[in-house]
Amino acid sequence: MDKVFSVDEISDQFWSSPQLPLGSPGERSTMSRSESEWAFQRFLREQASPKAKAAASNSSWTRGRVEDNDAMEIKGEGQIQKPFSANNVNINVNNNNNNKSARESKIIANPRALSVATENIPVDSEEYQAFLKSRLNLACAAVALSRASYVLSQEEAQPRSHGSSKEGLHEISKSQDKNAGDGAAPGNHSVSAVQRKTGIPVRSTSGSSREQSDDDEAEGETATTENLDPADAKRVRRMLSNRESARRSRRRKQAHLTELETQVSQLRAENSSLLKQLSEISQKFNEAAVDNRVLKADVETLRAKVKMAEETVQRLTGLNPPFQTMSEMPSLGTPPFEGSPSDASTGAAVPVRDDQRNHLYQANSNSTVSSLQRVASLEHLQKRIGVAHHRHGNLKKNPRRKEKAVAETMEISSSLRPRLPSLPFCASPSTFFSNRIETPAVYGIRRRRNSGSFSRSGEYRARRGLACNALFGLGVPELVVIAGVAALVFGPKQLPEIGRSIGKTVKSFQQAAKEFESELKKEPESITESSAQESEADSPDKKDESVPSAKESA
């Protein structure tokens, strides 16, 4: 107990009045890292030297085992505390020595120890160093012994002292925390177990060791070697676990780094491939765009050419083919191009075409019997074209149909071409007649649509022919011929009279016809028939009378 108090006092004294040449504790702390470590390492190195070691160890251990170790413990405590604090070992020792020398009187402890301390201060540097080493060893041993004593003796004062010593150590350790990472390696080979203990608790103790302090008592010695106390064992274990965790974290960090590297390389490769794809597709797109523009231009030119060709064909042939130009690109379903506008526009050319067609037919249909057949086929073709013209079918179909029709015409024309020069004149009447036969049928189909004026006489005749159909097959030319003959027969002077009479008869005849029709609709048939018969009887009679009268007059 006395020891305890004395230790405390001395330690307090030491802590309270540090007399260091360096002055501020800040400087001390900054220099602590290097200096204390360096001092410790130097100390260790010096320990390694056999000379000092032997001397020191011998002296220390012998001293440590001295029963009068009260003062040693005190000294040891002080010495231990100092070196692992912000102060250099040597300086501390110096200070301790100085302090000791200064406070020898203050120390309540055994004066013998003090005298021993003072006596042991060497003069030479080497001896002094050895002395220092011995001191350190003593201190370590003292600490170990004190700890052992504390653990073994289970007095009330122990926890306090233990705690205090622990606290002191904690303070030391806290100040030494910075040194822990870079400081002297814990695995000091030449250092004694005691020294290692002192080194280890310094490094491994952290804030949690304070928590452990209470437990250390309760726990007995661990399964470690005899040298390690349970507290130290804990610390050792903690240090080891810390090392392990540090190792793990380092490994994780390395793995992360490598993963990032691989990711970077992967992304770079992907990047390059994507860029290549992009360039390819953009090139293709550009080419397609160029082709697009070219094709559009081609389509436009083709349309223009087709238009011109169609016009020339219309000009050349009498046909009014239903040219339905293809629609613009965006909409294929544009309304079909009706033939009427083209027909109207080319109305002036129609007679030419008709004549041409007539001539064509004349040329084509020769004296041979087959000419009629071919003409019939042409007529059939014309009908088809007319049908196609009437129909407003699908745009795409029509060109093909037109093409077929035109192809047929071409074929026919080509087949008939060799017959061109043969006997045009002989064939003329037949053709003429055949023409006559044809034209009404054809024109009957087509001319209903035409509203254009016709300049040529042929057209006029043709038109008249339509109107004259109703007059029992007698066309206007036929009537004119008959009138001419009558005039020759009756004489020119009686022509007006004949004309009047004929007109009257015609008028009466027309009136009779109208009456006949009306009577047919309103009254019973018998009356109408009778009236009709009467009118009919009258009209021919009138006619006959007029004619013979005309004859008689002539």
Binding site: L22, M31, L278, K305, L316, T317, M326, Q356, L360
Partner: protein, 140 residues
């Protein structure tokens, strides 16, 4: 020992002791100096290497982010261009079909014209200029 303590303190101030109390002490002080300097330089180099490592790591992280972003951008660009390309290719095919049809039609018309001209040359009264103009227009 005031002198010894003085020497020690002098050595601790990182300056060669002026009081050569003992040559060994001076040498040791010098050695201490060198050791201290080496330790300092080591510490500095360690710090530098740590910083370099950290910087490398950060650079990698940023690089990864940038590459990812760039990749995404390229993918979107690729998609849009691909869409456009498909559209234009379709238009192209349509135009090609139209062009083919028009050429066929034109060919047939030209043939008609040719046949008509050659057929009715004996009976028609086309001037030479007309015929030539028609032929040139029909591109024969």
């Amino acid at each position: 020992m005031a002198s010894s303590s003085g020497t020690w303190s002098g050595s601790m101030t990182s300056s060669t002791p002026q009081n050569s109390g003992s040559s060994v002490e001076v040498l040791q002080a010098q050695m201490d100096e060198r050791k201290r300097k080496r330790m300092d330089s080591n510490r500095e180099s360690a710090r530098r290497s740590r910083m370099k490592r950290q910087k490398h790591l950060d650079d990698l992280v940023t690089l990864v982010g940038e590459l990812r972003k760039e990749n995404q951008q390229i993918v979107t660009d690729l998609d849009t261009i691909y869409q456009n390309y498909i559209r234009v290719a379709a238009e192209n095919s349509i135009l090609q079909a139209q062009a083919d049809e028009l050429t066929h039609w034109l060919q047939s018309l030209n043939e008609i014209i040719w046949f008509l001209l050659t057929n009715s040359s004996a009976t028609q009264t086309y001037s030479l200029s007309d015929v030539t103009s028609i032929l040139t227009s029909s591109e024969y």
